[in-house]
């Protein structure tokens, strides 16, 4: 029984994580070709190809794309945290409204992701609702360009990832003992001081978890920059897509995917350490 129980995650990891990862490794040292599939593996006669990984180091285009992705992911995670911290705490303390508010946070998941992003396009485009309202109020004559801006991209990212940040903060906030804030007040702390010195420090592990839960997937995000962002927002997800589907350069795309994975290992390890500390 115990063996069988271990077999399930073992098989899962072997088939769906280790095998694809090995394939990506092989691809990253393969040669681009015009065949189907469009690459020659190292054992096809040309040996391993070091150029794909070298290209990532030498061509500033890829480095810039990775750097931009990390900046956008950090901004997204930071903004999510700023919203999620008060939301999570407030929902945890909402008494009989708690479940309703929590459901409201999770409600967007009931609609398809692309439909929701499509709805943002409908709101943000030049003939969209926001511009229509602005024009109707006489605040502007010409449409203000909202869609395909960095702002729209960041808005979409924060919108999409916010629930992932709210949930860990909420879970940690429900476990807080309200008596501790009374104890702080009893010892002379103002409500603000009690929050900063007693409540917030206890939420640090959850806040770090929330940050990373948003940061890690946001770093590789493709759909939102593609649909809401400007053309110059060449985040790593978009570059991957270009290399893979437009340039049909599977080896470079694979090398880029490996680089992203390697760069994200740091935050992932940090996340695990935090999990153990809790």
């Amino acid at each position: 029984m115990r063996v069988a129980l271990r077999l399930v995650p073992g098989l899962w990891l072997a088939l769906l994580v280790a095998a694809p990862l090995a394939l990506v490794f092989v691809l990253a040292v393969s040669w681009q070709s015009n065949g189907v599939p469009p690459y020659d593996p190292p054992w096809a006669g040309q040996g391993t190809n070091p150029d794909n990984l070298r290209l990532l180091l030498e061509d500033p285009y890829y480095r810039a794309s990775l750097a931009q992705s990390f900046v956008v992911a950090a901004l997204t995670a930071g903004l999510c945290l700023l919203l999620a911290a008060p939301m999570g705490i407030a929902i945890a303390r909402a008494g009989r409204w708690r479940n309703a508010l929590l459901a409201a946070v999770l409600l967007p998941f009931w609609t398809g992701f692309l439909i929701r992003i499509g709805a943002w396009i409908g709101l943000l485009r030049d003939e969209g609702w926001i511009n229509a309202v602005l024009r109707g109020l006489g605040l502007t004559q010409d449409a203000i360009p909202l869609l395909y801006t960095h702002g729209a991209m960041l808005l979409g990212m924060v919108y999409a990832y916010l629930p992932f940040a709210v949930l860990p903060v909420f879970a940690a906030a429900t476990r807080l003992d309200p008596v501790l804030e009374e104890a702080a007040a009893d010892l002379g702390a103002t409500p603000g001081h009690a929050f900063l010195t007693v409540t917030l420090p206890q939420l640090f592990p959850a806040l770090a978890a929330a940050f990373l839960l948003v940061f890690i997937p946001a770093a590789g995000e493709y759909v939102i920059p593609e649909l809401l962002g400007p053309p110059d927002a060449t985040l790593v997800g978009r570059v991957l897509f270009q290399e893979f589907f437009q340039n049909r350069d599977w080896p470079v795309a694979s090398a880029l995917a490996l680089a992203l994975l390697a760069l994200l290992t740091g935050p992932i390890l940090l996340f695990q350490r935090l999990g153990r500390a809790q």
């Binding site: 008596v179 009374e182 702080a184 010892l187 010195t197």
Partner: protein, 349 residues
């Protein structure tokens, strides 16, 4: 002596339930007062009103003549030791104790000196850097006490301070608490549901029931002279005998098939008296304040045995028979019980 704390007419309702129903009380400086009552008696609400976590619907709270009700909890010169201790889990023992002093904005050196002193008084040396979860229950209790005492409050509130300790630690910690209270000179108000704790530690016991203080006085007085049926049965589980008041102030008790006569006549309208189990003796001769009965049960309790004696009138009395008086009568034995006038306590109607 001017009272340190003055409570007048405190009332607090939760819906239809009055958690506090017109509580008035004076606590002189340096007194150790125990608020004794069952759950829902209002004792914890009273403590929270004094600390400022609960606002009364009516009444006043004054500390040394200054009104406290308009003062938020963090500015009241009153400190509380919480029932579950409420130690800050992310802070070390030293940081927990220093927390309140830092809020006062005291110089660093003074904070350190006072923390060190509190750590010495409460025997927490070597624990300074530990987090609360790495402490034993007794150590946590002492940290909580140190954290409140280090502020040198004029009034310290303690919510079930010994409640979370195991039995053998309770007695020792109780004596320590007493000694610390004497030394600090602060007035202590302790909430407890444990009558033994209240009687052992406090200078004065206030018994609460349904949001009222039903009797307040020195432990011996409250124990020996309970004023109501509730106090008599809650404290030390006294026997309460019902009957009708005779013209000369005695109690005609059909359940005991005798007339009980107290030192003082029963109050007008009084229909019951209390009789402590340990004040009832075995007698040989019939006479005033005696009753005949049969031993129904007998339980050995170390220094004494508890007898349940069914009287000829039908009432059952709990009788404590001291071991030094020899072997207790066996089950089924016919006995005659006797008590002094002084031990018959007339209860208020």
């Amino acid at each position: 002596m001017k009272p340190r704390l003055t409570l007048r007419g405190l009332t607090r309702r939760f819906g239809n339930v009055a958690a506090l129903d017109g509580v008035s009380l004076d606590v002189p400086p340096g007194e150790f007062l125990a608020l004794l009552g069952g759950s829902g008696s209002g004792k914890s609400t009273l403590l929270r009103v004094i600390a400022g976590f609960e606002t009364p619907d009516a009444g006043t709270v004054q500390l040394d003549g200054t009104d406290l009700l308009g003062v938020p909890p963090h500015r009241r010169p009153v400190n509380m030791m919480f029932q579950s201790y409420a130690l800050f889990p992310h802070m070390s023992v030293a940081s927990n104790i220093a927390y309140g002093l830092k809020r006062e904005g005291l110089p660093r050196a003074e904070v350190a000196a006072r923390v060190a002193q509190a750590i010495a008084v409460l025997r927490l040396e070597g624990m300074e850097a530990r987090k609360p979860h790495a402490l034993s229950g007794g150590q946590r209790q002492r940290v909580a006490l140190a954290r409140a005492l280090v502020k040198r409050p004029r009034l310290l509130l303690l919510d079930e301070p010994l409640g979370a300790l195991d039995a053998n630690l309770r007695e020792r910690t109780g004596f320590e608490l007493r000694a610390i209270q004497r030394e600090s000179g602060a007035a202590f108000i302790m909430v407890t549901h444990d009558q033994a704790e209240a009687l052992a530690l406090a200078d004065r016991v206030a018994v609460m029931d349904h949001g009222r203080i039903v009797q307040a006085g020195p432990p011996r007085e409250v124990y020996d002279r309970p004023s109501t049926r509730f106090v008599a049965t809650f404290l030390g589980a006294a026997n309460v005998l019902d009957g009708t008041r005779t013209a000369d102030g005695a109690l005609d008790c059909p359940g005991a098939a005798c007339t009980l006569r107290a030192e003082a006549p029963l109050p007008e309208g009084g229909t019951a008296v209390a009789l402590r189990p340990e004040r009832i003796r075995l007698a040989t001769e019939p006479g005033e304040n005696t009753a005949a009965g049969t031993v129904e049960e007998s339980a050995f309790r170390g220094e004494s045995s508890l007898l349940l004696v069914r009287l000829s009138g039908g009432a059952t009395l709990r009788v404590s028979h001291a071991e030094e008086d020899g072997a207790p009568p066996p089950r089924g034995a016919a006995v005659r019980l006797a008590w002094d006038r002084d031990d018959v306590v007339p209860l208020l109607p």
